[in-house]
Amino acid sequence: MPEPREPAELVTAAADGDRTAWDELETRYGPRMWAVARASGLSPSDAADAVQGSWLRLLQHLHTLRDPAKVGGWLMTTVRREAHAFLRKRHDVSPFDHDVLTLEAVDDPDPASAVLEADGRRLLWKQVSALHEPCRTLIQLVAIDLGNRQMAARLGMPVGSVGPTKARCLEKLRTLISSQETAQ
């Protein structure tokens, strides 16, 4: 089994016509891009468009990425921006997506996207396990996209309390992660 190639190597190879390098990029980053698009609030069909659009952007920037080693962060930032543009266009009568039209390529990927790396995800899940109830269960239910009504039934709380509790639990988790990052 050959060693997996470094991201910068994959970008250079794809730019030079190596389709297998492109497929490897998709295998590595596609699932994360989908998760970002869906977490941004897009429907499955809009998320599919946003992900496809982000790959089209990469295709046009294969030769011009400032730091090909950070292609993962570049893709996450791009799909997040595409998702925001999709969400903003809802009241726009033009068939063109204005924000997509004017969206410039990202030179510096968002460093916060590192939470999507395997290590970041492991740390996040470890912190979820360290939360007290009801936050631990609630965050697990948020992760599987359960609606507020079903969450209320599972947690034995009024539906109206789910939103504020969710916000408090996410804030606690954020604080835990921040203190962990500060301690490192």
Partner: protein
């Protein structure tokens, strides 16, 4: 501070819920087939005092892209869920030059009239890009834009 989207995305990934559908992965892989080697990317440019997208008196939407001395003016109309594109490339890129109007599923090749006009009709909504192939020179390709029905 981690953005909410990354935070929730990381939770969703860790939970293994809502994995990427296979057709989305397949579409991403197929994108590579749309590569135009050596192409120069034309970016949106303002038309006079307006922005890159202007509605003309007939209700059509016009958008301009510029690169490498070439200007594309595209006019998009939407009817019955399909897209019609009428465009002009300026200055005329030469007699042997051709235009490809590309979508992820379909590429239509068009000759360019003497005045630089070209047109393509009945395109599916979604991502669209126009490429001008000029013999002996690098192709110029507009940035991909999403057209909604």
């Amino acid at each position: 501070m981690i953005n909410d989207e990354y935070f929730l995305a990381a939770l969703r990934l860790a939970a293994g819920n809502d994995p990427i559908p296979s057709h989305v992965s397949a579409a991403a892989r197929d994108v590579y087939g749309l590569r135009v080697p050596r192409a120069v990317t034309a970016t949106p440019a303002a038309r006079a005092a307006a922005g890159p997208d202007v509605r003309d008196p007939d209700g059509c939407h016009l958008v301009r892209f510029v690169a490498d001395g070439l200007t594309f003016d595209l006019e998009v109309t939407v009817g019955d869920g399909l897209i019609d594109v009428a465009g002009q490339v300026c200055p005329h890129p030469g007699e042997d030059a051709v235009i490809d109007v590309k979508t992820p599923h379909l590429t239509l090749t068009r000759h360019i009239a003497r005045n630089g006009d070209f047109a393509a009709t009945g395109l599916p909504p979604g991502w669209l890009s126009v490429v001008c192939h000029r013999p002996g020179r690098a192709p110029v390709q507009t940035r991909w834009v999403r057209i909604r029905p």
